[in-house]
Symmetry: C2
Subunit: 178 residues, 2 copies
């Protein structure tokens, strides 16, 4: 079956600090026309820092869309065309103060490809050394350290729900075959 | 550290078929004010159907935000306050024609909690029987069957990037301890 859709017309209905929302008129494979709502997002990075004692460093942050505090791996948005490896170093350092001697790229996830072009690159960070964290002035988070095995358990129980944290944790679990 | 943010003012800047975009003025934990861009999304379900020969049934769909065809587990949006277990049955049947005798709930993922309230519930579906698929008139997809182990490999190599597919596949891998 032919699957491709063709853009007929594009209109930007909102342009914010992070998001840009477009509503496009498209031609479907069957010749019908329809509309597509698209959220343009800069993309980001997520880092799972694992130390030699088998502990991970996570952050608890208030996530406004859910009005609650959520446990996540350190992460952040890309700053324009920034290299995602450098973004990973920056975000890990800003949020946790950690520096890593070794980064292993674990691929990317598309957060919600039906409506949004966000691609989030994931890294395993090892050979860690602790420096001073320096979050942005208006960034609020608490750093949490726990055994990696406990994080795997929280993910498998569905108590950790953040998609990038689920993906990064389970990829590391399989990579290490622990 | 105090993490909670307080809504001061809300304005809906876009209301589409799927998305509603709000821009809220909020009070940060330090008393500063800032804005939050929020995409309200109905949420959804994703289903990993695994047969007794160890094969999974996937779908290839054109994902407009990336302008490319992406390999994913069957999935769909919730229809208002619909029960997600029933939504899983509906979407699996519509997209692949499969009916499952056994559903195992695997928790949810929050696709992108920094800006969007999408929560996506995941199911493992087993004891499958093949009926006729019946996608919506303007829904275009190709059904693909492959060994589950091959899917795990594609996920681990980063060749499958869809977040719900990565999360569901790796959860099943650990659940089955294959």
């Amino acid at each position: 079956m032919k699957l491709e859709e063709r853009t007929l017309e594009r209109s930007t209905v909102f342009k914010g600090k992070i998001l840009e929302i477009q509503v496009d008129r498209v031609e479907l494979p069957n010749g019908h026309t329809s509309t597509r709502e698209v959220a343009r997002h800069p993309g980001g990075v997520a880092i799972l820092p694992l130390d030699e004692e088998g502990n991970v460093t996570l952050v608890r942050q208030f996530r406004y869309p859910f009005a609650k505090v959520i446990l996540e791996v350190p992460a952040g948005k890309l700053d324009g065309p920034e290299d995602h490896r450098l973004a990973a170093e920056r975000e890990l350092s800003e949020e946790t103060g950690l520096e890593a001697g070794e980064y292993t790229y674990m691929g990317a996830i598309l957060a919600s490809p039906g409506f949004c072009d966000e691609r989030l690159h994931m890294y395993l960070a090892r050979n860690l050394s602790q420096k001073q964290s320096h979050p942005d002035e208006d960034e609020f988070l608490n750093v949490v350290k726990m055994p990696f095995d406990q994080l795997v358990e929280l993910v498998m129980k569905g108590e950790v729900e953040d998609a990038k944290t689920v993906a990064a944790t389970l990829k590391v679990k399989l990579l290490l075959n622990r």
